[in-house]
């Protein structure tokens, strides 16, 4: 009774849960243009997931896996279904998640094996491997990976995290009821996953869940190991307008029913391409210029985490940038590769001694 009353009160005055605040980009998240200023840009349409196998950078795009060599992408192999994500197992072995729900292993001691859980995982968003195990994040039980905006707007929390024992092929569910887990990192104290719709990083340990970092300013996705910590890809920025729409159930319902998906008020991997997308006040061009600080539905953001999963530095592409929708990061030999799915490009920057990347 009291809860309902206070909720109605909050809703009337826009307080508490109904407040639409988004954390400011400050501290480790201070904006820069590092992603746009990176000299090394390697276009690859539809690039999604990156992995480091046998000292090679691999990238998935649609049904194909590409190999990076001498500044260009070369097609390495192709599958008969969409590739959802990639993960390295050990140094030589690559795990590939397919839209069919299958996990295929290439190379190494498990090479050629295929795994399929009894209960199909149709929305594998991320995988992370150790030498003998593979952790799998299933974003949602209701929507496929392409429908992530719908999953957000439906305010679902039906995702799960699994562990696959590569030797025996058994799947173990580690967590359930998650709001779009989209990234994984095996860690000595227990695997860590990013929960996108709750904007947080969570560790699974013996006692249950432990939130390592809450209230990120963007939706966190895949996590990749770095020499002294981790890289976190944040695929879309949070915005006040979206937070507000998330609290307006009537509008959300009608928007999903009546408005084409491309023009929803929802975060995107790339926005601003069509005039049918709604515009926000700060996004009005003045004297022909879009301001970098303009509110935007898409942006590029990649964060360097330390070993305790706390943000230390970040690389940005702002509203007026051209490296939006960072879905995956991989570090190799002093270089960090960042896949911007929204703009179909992989940028590469040298990793600096400070732990961030050179701007």
């Amino acid at each position: 009774m009291i809860v309902e009353f206070s909720r109605a009160f909050d809703n009337l005055f826009g307080r508490g849960e109904a407040a639409v605040t988004v954390p400011p980009l400050d501290g480790a998240f201070r904006p820069n243009r590092a992603l746009d200023e990176a000299a090394a840009r390697f276009p690859l349409a539809g690039v999604d997931s990156l992995a480091m196998v046998s000292s090679e950078v691999l990238a998935s795009s649609g049904r194909a896996i590409h190999r990076f060599d001498q500044g260009r992408w070369h097609k390495r192999s192709e599958y008969d279904a969409e590739i959802l994500c990639l993960a390295a197992i050990g140094k030589e072995c690559l795990a590939i998640a397919l839209a069919t729900g299958e996990i295929v292993i290439e190379g190494g001691c498990f090479g050629g094996r295929r795994y399929k859980p009894a209960q199909p995982l149709a929305c594998m968003t991320a995988m992370a491997g150790t030498d003998s195990e593979l952790y799998i994040a299933n974003g949602s039980a209701k929507n496929g990976p392409a429908d992530w905006q719908r999953d957000l707007l439906e305010r679902n929390a039906s995702g799960s995290v699994w562990r696959l024992d590569l030797e025996s092929g058994t799947f173990t569910r580690l967590a359930d009821g998650l709001a779009w887990p989209a990234g994984l990192a095996p860690d000595a104290e227990g695997p860590v996953f990013s929960e996108a719709w709750k904007h947080q990083l969570v560790r699974i340990d013996q006692r249950g869940f432990k939130v390592l970092y809450a209230d990120l300013p963007a939706y966190p996705g895949r996590i990749a190991p770095a020499t002294d910590g981790y890289w976190l890809a944040l695929f879309a920025p949070r915005s006040q307008l979206v937070e507000f729409v998330l609290r307006e159930s009537a509008y959300r319902r009608r928007m999903m029913a009546e408005v084409p998906q491309a023009f929803w008020v929802a975060p995107k991997l790339r926005s601003g391409r069509s005039f049918c997308e709604s515009l926000q006040g700060g996004g009005v061009k003045h004297l022909g210029l879009l301001k970098p600080w303009a509110p935007t539905m898409s942006a590029g953001l990649c964060v360097k985490l330390d070993r305790a999963f706390q943000p230390r530095a970040s690389l940005h592409s702002r509203a007026d940038g051209r490296t939006h929708g960072v879905t995956s990061v991989a570090e190799h030999d002093g270089q960090v590769f960042i896949a911007a799915c929204g703009d179909g490009v992989v940028v590469s920057l040298p990793v600096t001694p400070l732990g961030g990347a050179e701007a």
Binding site: P260, E277, G282
Partner: protein, 704 residues
């Protein structure tokens, strides 16, 4: 249409949400709370006490009230100037004893007694004024001290003269008339109080002296900075206060004819309660005679009512004190939160459904293309926001800019520019009159004319006020575009009457018909509103028949036609009902059709929001304006249509790379000149297959 949509539409059509905000913008709304308290108090005591408002009761109540109201008015004048006068009660007692002593002991004539008493009160006020105004002592402490000293003087006078006063008999009808007479059935003291109140009201609201008092109370430093003699103003308010208190004492003396030790004791608290309860701010700068009158009536009714209910004197003082505390608290909170409340409730979106947007691809006449790619830029980065462009007979370009100039680019290469006229406001729509002078709608100012020799003349800045409009809609806030009829009448649009120019997105959020079209007749100098409740009327263009004009309503995505003459006079017909974007200016094309600029394109998400006013209202409250959902004005286009509403062609610049943002276009000698309110250039496009000699001037006035 869904049932829920229909209910929403009816709900927003018949409940005028916007009125609450408009009422809150009014200064008189400060009087609303005291008025409510007054009604409540009158109701409560009227029902509790039988015959409370009977003729006998009311007569004696009114006579007391007249004296009390004078004291409250005295206090109000001091409070408005930012001070406080606690000595009003003592001065009242002093006035009483002085009047009686002068009359009975000194045996002065009544007229002299009146002058003497008032002078005595003025002297007390002058002491206060000198101390507080010139020596800048604290008003509270100073008047507290005067309260004690004057009270002591009264006691001394009482000791000396009370016997003599009681023994004497006054033989003067005029003297008794002051205390017991009637004027037109009203007690004399009420008439005096009413006259003083009216004079105080006129002085405070209509005279320089009154404005000085209000300014001093509002901000002493600012008043000083603008050259008001703050010390003299403050001193004068105390003198007035002392005089009025003494006047009240004089009336009291005439009514009762006796002096007692308790005359006027505690009166200052009652008067202070009345003044604050009426809504006069303790901080100064905000107060009026009406508030003082209301407050005094409330306190009078309460004090007398409590006495009649048999509550002891202590009890009624206690109650008075509690009410004073509450009134002060309300005063402070109201002052602090009124603008917050206003900002929360002023924006009141309404239900607005647009017809389905036509496609912009395939066979549609609006299909996307790259025809604006070859646009060349004139004055690139040298002009900030040319909303409208126009060319004269020598091919020079005129365009307004954001800093309030009309800039002229010289033909033929337009590389040279000069400020043609500095108008100060935001120049929007422009047109050349028959005599070659340039007429211009200036945002925030009105309709202006710039003659050939650059003289700037105001044509009009106000129209007739609507009968039932709460906000004053006579002033022009956002004159937008104009056109001139063959007989010289100027028809111009005012986009919104509820917002200022830079707040146009809020008007979109509201999507209420806040705009209008106004006619200025230069031969009579009369300005009249011809069409009301339009959704952001923008471009206006005379049709070729000389009897009608086309006008665009931006938020309605509609172009309509209005006949001001001829057989269809006063009729409005929709020409294009469903544009895919937001129309701006309309101008004539050389082949008898019309050019129309679309400043932005409709977005499905906003179209849906327009059907959900509650959503928009919460959005306006909850999130920052920079985050609001806007109409997409980053992409626009130019299109050509004829009088039947058929779209002939559409000119796009895909991606807005070459010429972002279009608000107007003007055809001139085979070229199309393009302006944009947030743009940094004037665009020029060569048109193929048009009359290369055609100019707007010739089309309108038949010369080159």
């Amino acid at each position: 249409m869904a049932v829920s949509d229909r209910i929403t539409r009816w709900r927003y059509r018949y409940v005028p949400d916007h009125l609450l905000g408009e009422i809150l913008t009014k200064r008189w709304v400060d009087n609303a709370i005291p008025l409510l308290i007054l009604l409540a108090v009158a109701l409560v005591f009227g029902s509790l006490i039988p015959d409370f408002f009977g003729p006998a009761s009311i007569s004696s109540l009114m006579r007391q009230w007249g004296e009390f109201a004078l004291i409250v008015l005295a206090l109000m004048i001091v409070m408005v100037a930012g001070g406080i006068d606690l000595s009003v009660g003592s001065t009242f007692a002093l006035g009483n004893i002085v009047a009686l002593a002068l009359l009975n002991v000194a045996e002065w004539p009544v007229a002299a007694v009146i002058v003497g008493t008032l002078a005595c009160g003025a002297a007390v006020g002058l002491v206060n004024g000198l101390l507080v105004g010139y020596l800048r002592l604290r008003a509270f402490l100073t008047t507290l001290v005067t309260l004690i000293i004057v009270r002591a003087v009264v006691d001394m006078l009482l000791l000396k003269y009370s016997v003599a006063i009681a023994a004497a008999f006054v033989d003067s009808d005029f003297w008794y008339y002051l205390g017991e007479g009637y004027v037109l059935g009203l007690p004399f003291s009420v008439v005096v109080a009413a006259i003083v109140a009216i004079v105080a009201h006129l002085v405070l609201t209509r005279s320089r002296a009154g404005w000085h008092v209000l300014a001093t109370g509002g901000s002493r430093r600012s008043a000083h900075n603008v050259g008001i003699s703050v010390r003299r103003v403050i001193c004068a308010t105390y003198v007035v206060s002392g005089t009025l208190s003494a006047l009240a004492g004089l009336l009291f003396a005439s009514r009762l004819g006796g002096a007692g030790a308790d005359t006027g004791v505690g009166l200052e608290i009652a008067a202070l309660t009345a003044a604050v309860l009426g809504g006069n701010s303790l901080g100064g700068g905000r107060g009026s005679a009406a508030k003082a009158i209301m407050g005094s009536i409330i306190v009078m009714i309460m004090v007398n009512g409590l006495v009649r209910l048999g509550i002891t004197r202590g009890g009624s003082s206690l109650l008075l004190g509690i009410i004073l505390l509450a009134a002060v608290a309300i005063d402070v909170r109201w002052l602090k939160n009124r603008h917050k409340l206003l900002s929360k409730v002023y924006v009141s979106p309404t239900y607005a459904e647009l017809p389905p947007a036509p496609a912009t691809e395939g066979e549609s006449p609006y299909a996307l293309n790259d025809r604006l790619r070859p646009v060349e830029a004139i004055g690139l980065n040298r002009i900030d926001g040319p909303e409208d462009v126009i060319l004269d007979e020598d091919d020079n370009i005129y365009a307004g800019n954001r800093t309030g100039d009309i800039v002229r680019f010289h033909a033929p290469d337009y590389s040279r520019q000069e400020v043609f006229a500095h108008v100060g406001g935001r120049p929007l729509g422009m047109a050349f009159a028959r005599d070659g002078s340039l007429l211009c709608c200036i945002g925030g100012m009105g309709l202006y004319r710039i003659t050939r020799d650059r003289k700037i003349e105001k044509l009009t800045d106000e129209t007739n006020r609507s009968w039932f409009s709460v906000i004053d809609d006579s002033r022009l806030r956002l004159a937008d575009d104009l056109d001139i009829a063959p007989d010289g009448r100027v028809f111009f649009s005012e986009a919104t009457i509820r917002y200022e120019m830079h707040e146009w997105p809020v008007d979109c959020l509201e999507s209420r018909g806040n705009g209008r079209i106004i006619c200025f007749n230069p031969s009579t100098g009369v300005t009249r509103t011809v069409l009301k409740n339009l959704l952001f009327p923008n471009g206006i263009c005379m049709t070729l028949d000389g009897q009608s004009f086309l006008f665009a309503e931006t938020w309605a995505c509609r172009v309509s036609r209005y006949w001001f003459d001829g057989p269809k006079q006063r009729q409005v017909e929709t020409v294009i009902a469903d544009l895919p974007g937001y129309p701006d200016n309309i101008n004539r094309a050389s082949d008898g059709s019309y050019w129309l600029a679309l400043v932005g394109m409709r977005t499905p998400a906003l179209d849906l929001a327009l059907k959900m006013p509650g959503f928009r209202k919460r959005m306006a409250r909850r999130i920052a304006p920079d985050e609001w959902m806007y109409p997409n004005i980053n992409t626009g286009c130019v299109l050509r249509f004829d009088e039947t509403g058929r779209i002939i062609e559409t000119l796009w610049d895909l991606g807005g790379e070459n010429h972002p943002m279009i608000t107007s276009m003007r055809e001139h000698k085979g070229y199309l000149y393009i302006g944009g309110i947030l743009n940094n250039r004037v665009g020029r496009l060569k048109l193929a297959g048009v009359d290369a000699g055609w100019t707007g001037q010739r089309s309108y006035w038949g010369r080159a």
